[in-house]
Point group: C2
Chain length 579, copies 2
Amino acid sequence: MRFSASFLDRASQAIRRRPTISKLIVICALSSGGVLAYADAKSDHDFETSELTRKKKLVVLGTGWAGTSFLRNLDTSQYDVQVVSPRNYFLFTPLLPSVTCGTVEPRSIVEPIRKIMHKKVGGIKFWEAECYKIDPTNKKVLCCSNIWTNMDGSGEFAVDYDYLVIALGAKPNTFNTPGVVENCHFLKEIEDTQRIRRSVMNCFERASLPELSEEDRRKNLHFVIVGGGPTGVEFAAELHDFVSEDLAKLYPTVKDLVKISVIEAGDHILTMFDKRITEFAEEKFQRDGIDVKTNFRVVKVSDKAITMTSASSREISVPYGMVVWSTGIGTRPVILDFMKQVGQADRRVLATDEWLRVPNCDGVYALGDCATISQRKVMEDISAIFRVADKDDSGTLTVKEIKDVLDDICERYPQVELYLKSKQMKDFIDLFKDANSNAVKESKELNIEEFKKALADVDSRVKMLPATAQVAAQQGNYLAKCFNKMKICEENPEGPLRMRGSGRHRFHPFRYRHFGQFAPLGGEQTAAQLPGDWVSIGHSSQWLWYSVYASKQVSWRTRFLVVSDWMRRFIHGRDSSCI
Amino acid sequence: MRFSASFLDRASQAIRRRPTISKLIVICALSSGGVLAYADAKSDHDFETSELTRKKKLVVLGTGWAGTSFLRNLDTSQYDVQVVSPRNYFLFTPLLPSVTCGTVEPRSIVEPIRKIMHKKVGGIKFWEAECYKIDPTNKKVLCCSNIWTNMDGSGEFAVDYDYLVIALGAKPNTFNTPGVVENCHFLKEIEDTQRIRRSVMNCFERASLPELSEEDRRKNLHFVIVGGGPTGVEFAAELHDFVSEDLAKLYPTVKDLVKISVIEAGDHILTMFDKRITEFAEEKFQRDGIDVKTNFRVVKVSDKAITMTSASSREISVPYGMVVWSTGIGTRPVILDFMKQVGQADRRVLATDEWLRVPNCDGVYALGDCATISQRKVMEDISAIFRVADKDDSGTLTVKEIKDVLDDICERYPQVELYLKSKQMKDFIDLFKDANSNAVKESKELNIEEFKKALADVDSRVKMLPATAQVAAQQGNYLAKCFNKMKICEENPEGPLRMRGSGRHRFHPFRYRHFGQFAPLGGEQTAAQLPGDWVSIGHSSQWLWYSVYASKQVSWRTRFLVVSDWMRRFIHGRDSSCI
């Protein structure tokens, strides 16, 4: 197949190329010989490198926030990178609720992985397939293509690895409630949003058909959201806006029959946010006519009705038009199987150490929603810490000895710092003050028992990281940087002192920095909880939300599309075609 | 459900409202009492009107080009309008091939019918359902909802009509070739384009998987288009552009294995166009490496291979990755059933008269792709024409007598005018010259036999209208205008003289005006055939194509979206995510 390019094509392609190309063209105009020489030198160099040292095989499973952030920051020239994912694109998940009602279009929040990666030196190999088994014993993953039609064989293949990065994400958690998988929509993949959008429109069209009782119309226009977390609440708000701003005009005969219910098992919605935000959200929803049912637990979903219970009432069954299930995440089967193989069969979620490594599993890393960091407790290592700090082996620690290893302890056990902050202590030394209830002199020496007593409550501050895009992206970025300096840090380790060994850890452990979280509440109002417990609610936060989400887009294409989608929504409203 | 609107909402909604609202606000500021009085007077008036005269029930089946054009131009205040269609939106079909490869997004070429109609006085009722039976005897249509989930009953209902407008469109024609429905994609609905786009991407992803032979990769990247008409050719061109401009960069390892084939049963592709265009297209496709197989007929499509024959060769079977079937249109089952009821069982397509009325069927009209106008032949009515023209009953026609009825004859039988044009005659009188091979004096009189002889070949010029959006839209517009002046024209008929009756026809018969046709050939080149056999090929026609298609959009929303899609494609290319 030959390709001809017209003038316009060429112009268009030139625009799309990176700016360095234009620099090359300038150099080329000055001295084409020089450029040719440069090009030659480069390819020679590449050739030599690949011949002399075989690159280590790095396999990445998944192209979500963690996987993509890892790949974007990775120096791909150092490794033979292979990516396996059933999705050949990165999905900007925080905008999923906006897509359900057409505020933003699906294509505006996806970017092909090949496009993100195709300018990287060395490149990556991408296989659109699902990993169905991880085999750490033989260092390989078994994969199966989902698009294996019109071909012989089964579409299965194995990929060997030296390093494996597991970033497979999670699946929706149904708590084994009967009928949920069959009758509810989830809100995790781009296809979910398309199904929800079609389903909302179908409910309106169905409720508008002739020869229906008002009861049937009401039933069809009852939208139920199970789960009062950020996703469920944002979807409820989006749906309310869609109905009031767009559909009410087009379906005037049924618009007053619409009901939106949010069912939450806890006392309040948005419990992960500050109390002020929760209260504001509940009040706003009440004003908007969104029915928030707290302390209700869904026990069954049939094709016609949703059944729930509460402490104060018997089982009630409510007919519905559509249910969206958004109650948190569960572990994927392939991860559960892998956990059995690596001795984590009794855990709910795959655990890694603070360097995102899966314990007892050479070269395997896990990050994002599919794993959780199991922070080592201070009390487990207390004797080792004491031994490391006690340089002169005197059996007691001087304040100076403690100060010498303080930074390493705080880095290795971040709960120490959190504990100090929570108790409003300025210094590590204050800990011992607290324990002994009196002033500590610089000359004071502590024995192991006193040391233990002082640190006894520190581990209560160990915090699990939330399953958010922000955490996954930071983990991906962190791990990529570790991989990039793998060789350098082998010789010059940069991490804290090893407490139960000698020398230093190769890398700093992963530390999460929280930049805040948004909860869009509809009607151009957003609640924002920023670091330092700074809370902002209203239209100004909505503009902050617009700017942050536009700036966080993975490419200029999606940024252009998302912003023009917002403009389009503002001028022309949302589309209500059933497609 | 109550709706609250923030400042931004209100601003946004105000922009979307029609400008008259702002005038009302101005009046309101001047004299709020006056406005209230006006509002009261208006609703009283409405009430009286609806009480005194029951509006006739007008049922429209279908929301394609014909149905939508009819609805947009209809004075809905005169009728009780009900629309039945399985699609709640109008689809701008000429851009379907652009959507298959992501040059334009699906939502950019659809507009909800309710949105198109919601500002119309009186409004319309829309039922999202499929009409499965037309019952002209009882003047009702039977419909069935396609979205009848989670409801009791069957979702069936009947709609009574006084006037019925059938604009149901057509279905793809498979010529009963085995395996086509199961294995091929069509290109008629918006869902088809989404499936094709996903399928193209799946072929590329599948061909890129590890452990495949080159033969398997080639097979997966063989794209077959059956049918060398405008749709098939445009799709082939779009696909070629998509591959060469976007996918070649992202799939460098397999890009040279891509093959696009166009299979055409005739001697050439684009046979409905001028020979210059056909030749240019065939040459361009050859340069682009698109394999055009003319004189090949497809006899079977299995899940792995497509089988075809030609006069010169035995059956050949070619493996493929994807087949798009685009060989013309067939009649829908509901129309075939209706044809049986109205005595057209032996016809292939539903026939109407020149006023788009279904013969022997009171109040039923058919237009667009589901029907064809059966032009009355001059020779069938020759005696009646003679009798009407022969005012003095002399048994002979003078030239003056002929001239008196000439306009009516030409309007009733447009083939007469076409015949004169084709023979390069300036005047009707020349016809008689031609027949008698000598000059005709003004005083000459013709008897019936001479009259018949002169008009003998005229009916050879009867032309079937093509099944295009242009024809359907003009028919819808024409019929709406007829409906709008139904009462006026009942008293003052505007049509030509009735030949086989007395008086005049109520309306002018439908006349199609051809504004030209485009054939986009890829690489920013388009062939345009404009009225007067004016042919233009190349980049300038592409810009004409852009302007015409942008201006023909049904709403400002779709116009804005289509133009911004073109810009987005030009700057960022097409998206290759498998969604």
